[in-house]
Amino acid sequence: MSAAKEILRTEDLSIGYAKTGGAPLYESLDLSLDSGSLTCLMGTNGTGKSTLIKTLTGLIPEMSGKIAYNGDESLFRNPARRAKVFSVVLTNQSFSGLLRVWELVALGRHPYTKWTGRYSKEDHEKVEWAISAVRLELLKDRMIHTLSDGEKQRVSIARALAQETPLIYMDEPTAFLDLMHKIELMHILRKLVKECNFTLLISTHDLQLALQYSDELWLMNRVSGVKKGLPEDLLLDGSIAEVFGNEELGFDSESGHFKGKTELKHRVSLEGDSVGVKWTKHALEKIGVGVAESEVEPSVLVSKIDAGRFEWSIGDRKCDTLEALNRILSGMFDEK
């Protein structure tokens, strides 16, 4: 891996909509992006993620402060040069046009073609590369409107790749995808970032993916500003819990999940096979039964019989599904 090099830096940046005469949403932001890194931007809805991104991409002017690409501040005022540095993938995929996948991806070459819009041999090669980078080879002659949302999303990403910019911003690229496609896409993106050494800034609501795939995490919150760091660091120091948690939602730092706070009325002690214990705990919490740290009654023992077969025992009663265990425990607590 080549040494990370800082390519975008903001100094004392204030963002917001100057036109409407409002106060800045955020002030004195000092942010930076390194080449060959994947950064995720997270924050609850309405915290100003888009405003930050639009400012960083030069689509709306900054209220005060500096944004510099490789130390050059003037770039953001020149649309033609900016288009060779920053490309975007937006959430809105309702493209107007009867376009083939190839044609849409090729539109990404816009900053490089002459006024006629004719594609050179190099343009053709870049388009083909972008299409294969997101594995769209088999779809390249298809009409855009015949594709699924996930496929359209990948076409959009290919278009941004074809624009051949050192910085790419993606607004919730995984929003419309099912779980497997989310993971597949993030995997491809991370691989591309590392192989091609570009810089990717992704805004997302998916904490799991952010934890799993980002090099850096930016957490946005109107109260505490923008916090940045290694995602795992932000998890351990409680920043993630602070930004997203509330009275209803608690953050479980062990699993990296948010969950609704449920009142645990009863306690059991639990031991046995580690996988079995994890999922037993998971199931019991849903019916309001917590697992005690110390030895209490009743006590549940999980044992693994063989692959895919578990057995639970409470005293002399045994069962082979969690559903049965739930029934037994409910019965026991109701008697009390």
Partner: protein, 355 residues
């Protein structure tokens, strides 16, 4: 080339050849038919060999009446179709056409003022200045549409496209209302001239006028062609276009100027010829299966000219002495074409991102 599969190359080739052949055939028959029928053979010998032809009467009919008229039809159709295509892309709206911004209403207000109020007064004033009679209508409608488009252009710097579209529609209503008032109080004899303009007519255009008409149309189309690359970027929406370095304000203004020239000059010389601007771009998208402007511009020029020529030919009711209003024929052809395409082709709804 990876751009299109060979099936698409064949499809495109087929539609180009068909279009060109049909255009040539239609030119032939529209020169041949009329109040006097001139056999195709004679038409071609007149066209190829004008000075030597013994029957100067027939040669005159062809050269002074029918040929300028056919040429006007082709130019007007091409101009309206190009303007329509640009408006549809710019406003991302399948029903947008050159008239959606209120251009025809502006023009009809101009004509109404000249014809209904000043009437012969202005006409004689203009002819006194060495301008032929029906130039008054041309000048009035051009000024009317230029006025509306200037207003639109000024507004386009301040408001977004959707607002602009609505402003255009509202101005259309307002000017129509004014025209209605003028019509209500007008002297009946003058109404005839006004309505004749509103029916759409290609036959007033003489060679003198073509020397103004043709260069303006060519200029408008050239401007459109230059905007082709930017228009393709607009297909992805303004945000994407801007991110690819397209200057939105610059190209929006450029395209509006091109559309104004094309529409203003056609409305001025031929009246508000409807539906070509809406129907032809849809037809061409559906035939060529693409939204790429570098293919669509030449396609709508060919088929716009072709369809207008055909509409004009039908309006003559060949074999009869009657002539129908051109506007009714273009609408009768245009409306079903749009409906057929919208109902039959899911792809067209998708073409505007809401299918």
């Amino acid at each position: 080339m990876e751009r299109f599969s060979s099936a698409h190359h064949r499809r495109h080739f087929y539609f180009w050849i068909t279009g060109v052949l049909l255009l040539v055939a239609l030119l032939g028959v529209s020169l041949s038919f009329g109040s006097v029928k001139i056999p195709i053979g004679e038409v071609s010998s007149i066209l190829l060999d004008r000075s030597e032809y013994e029957n100067q009467g027939l040669a005159n009919i062809i050269w002074s009446i029918r040929f300028p008229k056919a040429l006007t039809a082709v130019l007007a159709g091409a101009a309206l179709a190009v303007a329509g295509l640009q408006m549809q892309t710019l406003f991302r709206n399948p029903l947008a056409d050159p008239f959606v911004l209120g251009v025809n209403s502006g023009a009809s207000l101009g004509v109404a003022i000249v014809v209904l109020i000043t009437g012969p007064g202005l006409a004689s004033l203009l002819s006194g200045m060495g301008v032929a009679g029906n130039y008054a209508v041309v000048v009035a409608s051009s000024l009317g549409s230029a006025m509306v488009l200037t207003l639109i252009m000024v507004l386009s710097f301040r408001v977004d496209l959707m607002t602009l579209l609505i402003v255009g529609l509202m101005m259309g209503y307002a000017t129509s209302a004014l025209v209605m008032v003028l019509v209500f109080f007008a002297i009946p004899e003058r109404l005839q001239t006004f309505f004749a303009w509103g029916y759409g007519n290609l036959s007033h255009v003489t060679w003198d006028q073509i020397s103004i008409f043709a260069p303006v149309v060519v200029l408008g189309i050239l401007m459109a062609w230059i905007a082709g690359k930017a228009m393709n970027a607009f297909l992805l929406g303004e945000a994407y276009a801007r991110s690819m370095g397209v200057s939105i304000i610059k190209w929006r203004t450029w395209v509006l100027i091109s559309t104004s020239l094309l529409t203003g000059v056609v409305v001025g010389f031929c009246g508000p010829v409807g539906f070509i601007g809406v129907a032809v771009p849809h037809l061409c998208r559906s035939m060529f299966q693409t939204s790429d402007h570098r293919i669509l511009y030449p396609a709508v020029i060919l088929y716009g000219g072709l369809l207008t020529l055909m509409a004009d030919f039908i309006a003559q009711l060949p074999g009869s002495r009657l002539v129908l209003p051109l506007n009714s024929i273009t609408s009768l052809i245009g409306a079903p074409v749009v409906i057929w395409i919208l109902l039959g082709r899911r792809s067209l709804r998708s073409a505007f991102g809401n299918g």
